[in-house]
């Protein structure tokens, strides 16, 4: 690893930010990691030795070095069973723009040399579990709680905090030269007032807590003066008349002190507002741009006899974390020029492609994914935009093995819903065990998904075991757009599907398909073709699903609107026969099916079908 300061041209440089010429320059650093290796040792059995608290540091050092050497590829004694996950050369250029800007911002420009990740099923499961664990922890530590307090609740919390702080001061601090916050932390697990103070520090926003502390300080000072006056009076005694004037606090003095405090307080509030704004509102932004020429993932589901490969070329990734304290607020963009996803056996006899390019003429990115996440007003807004172009998907049964391997175990299954948030998880936070009376925050996820796929083909081979000889079906879309949106109230989800230029063909061999494939995306009417079943078909649909309220007995309502264009089917006995065999190609999906609790039958469903501008059918099912 090497780290050094560079100039704008990428050359090593000496940077003095106090010099006039550097005042408007950003600080640039180059970080290079050569032979950078990550490996995931899923078989490690002696890890407990180092995680044991009683383990001496000298032993830890020996164990750690031993573990690392086992994964060191240069070491001839390296463990041959460790599947290697990552091995590359990584260059990161960091830009620290905090030199000039009020809002600090860091930019990372990462370029990676081709990387290949090899994973087995055991490793993948562990990585998934580990990432879940990390996600759950991150979720726990998020503090959206302060935003949940209403005006009245906030006022009550502040009042309770002020009282507790005064009481805490009276109980613990009167005999001490100054108030120490560490004592609140030390006592907060046992003492009720310190518990209340701790809770308030967690849930009340910074400005509110300063205001409440000010009230407490004024109250404490009043109490102090009363006790001093009492002391003064009681101390009078025989020569008390000499001391009386010294101990008695004059109203002018009190006023002066209060004025002084007020003066300090106002300036402090101003400074704090700026400080808290910088830290919690703006945070330090982080922008990551990464370029990668080639990346590959090889996955072994069970044994080494078969594996899945995902290969990508010319990848560009951009992440912009707007606020580092809440990593949910980010924008990201991933563009992949070329992608291949295939299944192959050990001897690499044949690669069965799930996904590949349709043709080589088109120079647009095969996939562009844009994801924006934002947390605002108790809503988590997710915008997902997917654009695909010029790709072919094959429906082959081997994909089920991959899905089974990646899918979580049955008991972990989570039903996906557009508006269901993860508020329950947040509620497991230890914050709330200390703040038991706080109401549950209702965080709602609002997902807006749009996808636009251009010139996409789906092939269904009738006999996937021998792809070279098989016949099959090809479905081609000139354009297919899908968009969904859930409304803010969480009452319904709306789906819009808009497709153009749909055509479906039957091919008697792979060779026939390959020969005719290039014609698929041309706007040529191939109706005379023997194998063409349907061509240039348009379909528009709008589906609105009203969600059932768990508390009430009402069930889902579905409103479906379909608008179909002119459709001409060219059916001959062969096509009819082959069409009847089509469902058998999807038999493998049954193995993925899991028993779910049966939903109540839908009521109040409206289905409208429009053909060539005329409403053909309108079903109302109750």
């Amino acid at each position: 690893m090497s780290v050094y300061t560079i100039n704008e041209q990428g050359e090593p440089d000496f940077f003095d930010r106090t010099q006039q010429k550097n005042l408007n320059r950003d600080l640039l650093k180059n970080i290079t990691l050569k032979d950078f290796v990550v490996y995931w040792n899923s078989e490690e059995e002696e890890a407990f030795l180092i995680s044991d608290n009683d383990c001496k540091d000298s032993y830890r050092k020996i164990y750690l070095r031993d573990y690392i050497m086992r994964g060191d590829k240069k070491n001839p004694e390296a463990h041959p069973l460790f599947d290697f996950s990552f091995d590359s050369r990584l260059t990161i250029k960091t830009v620290d723009t905090s030199v000039n800007e009020i809002e600090p911002k860091y930019k990372l420009d990462i370029s990676l040399e081709p990387i290949k990740i090899i994973l087995n099923n055991h490793q993948l499961r562990q990585i998934i579990e580990f990432s879940k664990e990390l996600k759950a922890k991150a979720q726990k530590s998020k503090v959206h709680l302060t935003e949940e307090l209403s005006e009245e609740e906030l006022l009550a919390e502040k009042k309770a905090y002020t009282n507790s702080l005064v009481k805490f001061y009276e109980n613990y601090c009167t005999s001490k030269p100054r108030f120490k916050w560490e004592e609140v932390l030390q006592a907060h697990k046992g003492d009720r007032d310190s518990q209340m103070i701790y809770r308030a520090l967690v849930i009340i926003p910074s400005m509110g807590i300063i205001e409440a502390t000010r009230e407490a300080v004024l109250e404490i000072n009043k109490l102090k003066k009363i006790s001093t006056q009492k002391k003064g009076k009681s101390k009078k005694g025989l020569f008390g008349f000499w001391q009386a004037e010294e101990t008695q606090v004059q109203p002018e003095d009190t006023q002066k002190e209060e004025e002084k405090f007020e003066e300090f307080y106002q300036s402090f509030m101003l400074a704090s507002k700026k400080m808290t704004k910088d830290k919690s509102v703006t945070g330090f932004g982080l922008t990551i741009s990464a370029k990668l020429k080639e990346a590959g993932v090889v996955f072994f589901p069970d044994t080494r006899s078969q594996h899945f490969c995902l290969e990508m070329r010319n990848i560009k990734l951009d992440f912009d974390f707007i606020d580092h304290k809440n990593l949910e607020n980010f924008k990201s963009n991933i563009a992949v020029f070329d992608l291949e996803f295939f299944y192959t056996t050990k001897n690499h006899q044949m690669a069965n492609h799930f996904i590949k390019r349709l043709n080589d003429y088109d120079h647009r990115n095969i996939i562009t994914l844009n994801l924006n996440k934002k947390f605002q007003d108790h809503h988590r807004f997710i915008e997902l935009n997917l654009e695909g172009c010029n790709f072919e998907i094959s429906v082959i049964p081997q994909i089920s093995e991959l899905i089974k391997a990646i899918a979580p175990p049955k008991d972990d299954e989570i039903e996906i819903s557009f508006t269901k948030g993860h508020s329950d998880k947040i509620f497991d936070s230890p914050l709330l065990t200390r703040a038991p009376s706080l109401k549950k925050p209702n965080i709602q996820t609002v997902l807006t998904f749009t996808s636009n796929l251009l010139q996409a083909a789906v092939t269904v081979p009738m006999n996937p075991a021998s792809l070279l000889e098989t016949d099959g079906w090809a479905l081609f879309f000139d354009k297919i757009g899908l968009s969904t949106q859930s409304d803010l109230s969480g009452v319904s989800d709306t789906w819009n599907i808009d497709s153009e230029g749909i055509r479906m063909d039957y091919f008697d061999s792979l060779e026939t398909y390959l020969r005719n494939r290039e014609k698929l995306y041309l706007p040529v009417d191939q109706t005379k073709s023997l194998y063409n079943l349907i061509s240039n078909f348009q379909l528009k649909s709008n589906i609105t699903i009203a969600k059932s309220n768990e508390e009430s007995e009402s069930t889902k309502n579905l409103n479906c609107y379909l608008e179909a264009g002119k459709a001409l089917f060219y059916i001959n006995p062969l096509l009819a026969f082959k069409l009847s065999q089509l469902p058998a190609c999807f038999e493998f999906l049954k193995s993925l099916h899991r028993e779910r609790p049966q939903n109540k039958p839908a009521t109040g469903t409206v289905l409208t079908v429009k053909h060539n501008g005329i409403h053909l059918v309108r079903y109302i099912i109750i």
Partner: protein
């Protein structure tokens, strides 16, 4: 001179490194070379950066520093780390503690007004900026690191090695 460095070095690198003492430190003042053996990372380093991990154990077998002090720090300081091991694990509740501590720090000046001598509270803090801060910033901006680097994450039987 080594004694002097024992006091100066922690103020420069104390946020990142700990364990600097007479036994671990060797220096050649004229050549500007400082060598530290068997030192460790400051465990609070990651939490200060807001990272969701904590350092369980760390060891830097050898840290060589090349300090161009004769050139008035107008060249980068070179660091070479060898035999560097870190054991880190995900940290829980770090943000909660952070929030409370951050607010406590913020409120410290307000509560100074309930101390015995409240007049002291309104006095402005001494400015820490000066030549020392200037050099510290200059050094950190231009530091060059070369390393034989090992990193390890461990938690609940799940591990990543780099």
């Amino acid at each position: 001179m080594e004694k002097l460095l024992q006091f100066i070095l922690p103020s420069f690198v104390g946020d990142f490194i700990q364990g600097i003492d007479r036994e671990t430190l060797k220096a050649n003042f004229l050549k500007g070379k400082v060598s530290l053996k068997d030192i460790s990372l400051n465990p609070s380093m990651l939490s200060k950066l807001g990272a969701p991990f904590r350092i369980v154990y760390s060891n830097i077998g050898n840290l060589e520093m090349n300090i161009p002090w004769l050139k008035g720090f107008k060249q980068p300081i070179e660091l070479c780390l060898e035999d560097f091991l870190v054991l880190i694990e995900p940290n829980e509740d770090i943000k909660e503690v952070d929030i409370v501590e951050e607010k406590m720090k913020l409120l410290d000046r307000v509560t100074e007004f309930v101390s015995i001598n409240p007049n002291e509270a309104s006095k402005p803090e001494k400015k820490s900026e000066g030549l020392f801060t200037y050099y510290k910033l200059l050094i950190l901006d231009n530091i060059q690191v070369a390393s034989l680097y090992f990193l390890k994450i461990l938690r609940s039987g799940l591990r990543i090695f780099t």
